[in-house]
């Protein structure tokens, strides 16, 4: 159990800056997921918490102690690596117990704790095997066992599931979450997989290009992305965007020459501003061509998901995805109308990419509406 506080952390290699001042606070026992595309600096940040990477400037403290200059062994963290990093020449038991051996824990005590850990991660039968004799999922368990045996204050996961096949990944995801509940240590989990991020996180952090884009619960982040990047990064298919300008009256934006109504409360404050308007695929509606308040569109192609379908339509050369339940069939090439409900249209500044109504009261209001919906 430990709080982690990260203050204005920066990292650069030579002239290339990887992290541009990151401020974060993790509560004790929280499951934090850091999500971002490749190269956003998320792994670097995790490794700085672990003590594997020098901190160029800023301060990291765990439980109130500044750990910048502490060796990894003195920070009370343990880590699960992407490629597991098991010691190839040691048995499963020796791998799990190595930290205790280094710490000088007596043999009997060590064996007892290895057995207990093996039970938790389900490896009792395999303790004498070498890593090369294990399947991917089993190796993953050894890596987890090695992490939990030290009873650390903080668990660090560096994309631990990305080397597993899809089915195992889902299974291990559930197990990690269960383990977290049981051990209740603070966990920091780095991934580029948004499904992992959404399902695991208490607190989700989205990073891009060395900046923190947004911190929040998965639902907050999904429904009220703070920046255009977050909106487009989270959700599959991604949020649809079109660039436009808010009408002087503040009640609509133009899309392909058609007036699309927006929340007047939102528009009033931003009248005349150039904006990127975003809307999630599941909030769009397709109607027959020519229906009032609809933007004319051509069906490009349809993806069948079984539980529903995604219709890709084209408007003025721009692709729009519409997620729908089963129901009406649309044929490729047919003309349709696209309706964009005003309450679901989110506006982002065209210059800064920031959400235009990013304030607390608005946040509460939207969460209520989305939960109700």
């Amino acid at each position: 159990m430990a709080e982690i506080s990260i203050k204005d952390i920066r990292k650069s290699y030579g002239r290339t800056q990887i992290l541009h001042g990151v401020d974060l606070n993790f509560k004790s026992g929280e499951f934090v997921v850091i999500l971002g595309p490749s190269g956003c600096g998320k792994s670097t940040l995790l490794r700085m918490i672990a003590g594997l990477e020098e901190i160029s400037s800023g301060e990291i403290s765990i439980d109130g102690t500044v750990v910048n200059d502490l060796e990894p062994r003195d920070r009370g963290c343990s880590m699960v690596f992407q490629n597991y990093a098991l010691y190839p020449h040691m048995s499963v038991a020796a791998n799990i117990g190595y930290a205790l051996k280094v710490a000088g824990v007596p043999r009997a005590e060590r064996d007892r704790r290895i057995a207990e850990t093996a039970r938790i991660v389900g490896l009792e039968e395999l303790l004498d095997r070498k890593p090369a004799q294990l399947s991917g999922g089993q190796r993953q368990r050894v890596a987890m066992g090695r992490a939990i045996i030290r009873e650390p204050k903080v668990f660090l996961f560096d994309e631990p599931l990305s080397n597993l096949d899809a089915k195992l990944r889902v299974q291990m995801r559930v197990e990690i979450r269960r383990l977290h509940k049981r051990l209740s240590a603070t966990s920091v989990f780095v991934t580029h997989d948004q499904v992992e991020a959404m399902t695991l996180a208490d607190k989700l952090i989205v990073m891009n290009k060395g900046h923190v884009e947004q911190v929040g619960t998965p639902l907050e982040i999904y429904h009220r992305p703070r920046t255009r990047f977050v909106g487009s990064f989270i959700g599959s298919p991604a949020m649809n965007f079109f660039d436009s300008t808010v009408a002087p009256e503040g009640n609509f934006v133009l899309f392909d020459g058609i007036r699309v109504a927006i929340d007047p409360a939102l528009g009033r404050d931003n009248a005349g501003k150039p904006v990127a308007a975003g809307i999630r695929p599941e909030h769009c509606r397709l109607v027959s061509a020519g229906t009032a308040n609809s933007v004319p569109a051509i069906v490009d192609f349809v993806e069948e998901l079984g539980s529903g379908r995604i219709v890709h339509v084209e408007i003025d050369g721009q692709n729009f995805a519409v997620a729908m339940d089963e129901g009406q069939l649309f044929e490729a090439g047919s003309s349709v109308g696209l309706q964009l409900p005003a309450e679901h249209i989110q506006l982002f500044s065209l210059e800064t990419g920031l959400r235009l109504d990013d304030d607390v009261p608005a946040l509460k209001r939207t969460i209520k509406t989305t939960v109700a919906a």
Partner: protein
């Protein structure tokens, strides 16, 4: 240092360094200390002596502090000696002859073995053997095999006397030492060529076969070009080794001892015998420096080449 910002997590891509390192200023020094001491005493100190000796004159054994700086005099003296230039050209002849012979035979054998016919493993097993044999032993054995009065070749002298006599004719002696060196290094060259050929992906050979090329065509179009880095490395190494290598010394010492009539008095042999028998330290040191310059040139070429190869990978 290579640097790719777009790489996963924007870690610096660095072929020379580990990402994970330990922090300590004295531990690495402690770990490196045995090696440091050894190379200081047995490499750098002697090497510095070579340098000072080459530019100074010193009385033989025991004279301390009376070294006389003479600039390039020792070199001038060495270069003015026609014997020296003869030795240089003999060395060149020896090095190029031995290298060409050894590499050619090894290459032919490697290509054959690489066809992976039944039993080629056994051939490979034996082809490596010569490398295990010390140069003096090779010298002694070949001295017997190529002796004028007994052994394998002696029979030609029964047809006509002195058709073959390395103890009498310089050219025969040179052929003898070249053959010794070449034979010993077949094993080494073979090992590297086989390794190089094996690293050519089978799929490439198969693709080329699908394109309708025969085995000989493939050797020229595919295997030789792809083996070029290995061949180049071996070329440089063979030349360096035959110029200054211990094997050259050992072979010459056990077969011809530089003779007859100094016709196999190659540079290495000359340096050692001058320094020890003639007690001409300064002359030997100057000659050593010339050799060192040659090796450095070779190594420089090779290093640049190898570096480039790493970047292609």
């Amino acid at each position: 240092m290579a640097f790719l910002a777009s790489d996963e997590e924007a870690e610096p891509v660095d072929l020379m360094n580990k990402r994970a390192v330990f922090k300590s200023w004295w531990l690495p020094i402690a770990f490196a200390m045995p090696q440091l001491l050894l190379i200081f005493f047995f490499f750098y100190w002697p090497a510095t002596s070579v340098l000072t000796w080459a530019f100074s004159l010193e009385p033989a054994f025991g004279g301390v502090g009376e070294r006389l700086f003479v600039g390039w005099d020792n070199f001038r003296e060495v270069f003015a000696d026609t014997e020296y230039w003869r030795s240089v050209s003999l060395s060149l002849l020896f090095a190029f002859g031995a290298t060409a012979l050894s590499m050619f035979i090894a290459f032919v054998l490697a290509i054959c073995v690489d066809r992976q016919l039944k039993g080629s493993g056994l051939f490979r097993f034996f082809y490596i053997w010569p490398y295990a044999i010390a140069a003096p032993a090779v010298g002694l054995a070949f001295r017997f095999i190529f002796a004028p009065e007994s052994g394998l070749i002696a029979v030609v002298n029964t047809w006509s006397p002195d058709l073959w006599n390395p103890a009498k004719f310089g050219s025969h002696a040179m052929i003898l030492v070249v053959v010794c060196f070449a034979w010993k290094w077949i094993g080494y060259n073979f090992i590297f060529m086989t390794a190089g050929l094996q690293s050519i992906p089978r799929s490439l050979i198969e693709a080329s076969a699908m394109d309708g090329s025969g085995p000989v065509r493939r050797a020229f179009d595919l295997q030789i070009p792809l083996l070029a880095p290995t061949l180049f490395f071996l070329l440089v190494l063979n030349l360096t080794e035959s110029f200054v290598g211990p094997d050259t010394y050992g072979i010459v010492d056990l077969t011809t001892e530089g003779g007859p009539n100094k016709s196999t008095d190659v540079m290495v042999y000359r340096i050692v015998s001058e320094a020890f028998r003639g007690l001409n330290y300064s002359g030997a040191a100057a000659q050593s420096l010339v050799l060192i310059a040659l090796i450095m040139l070779f190594t420089f070429i090779q290093f640049r080449y190898v570096e480039r190869r790493v970047h292609y990978k």
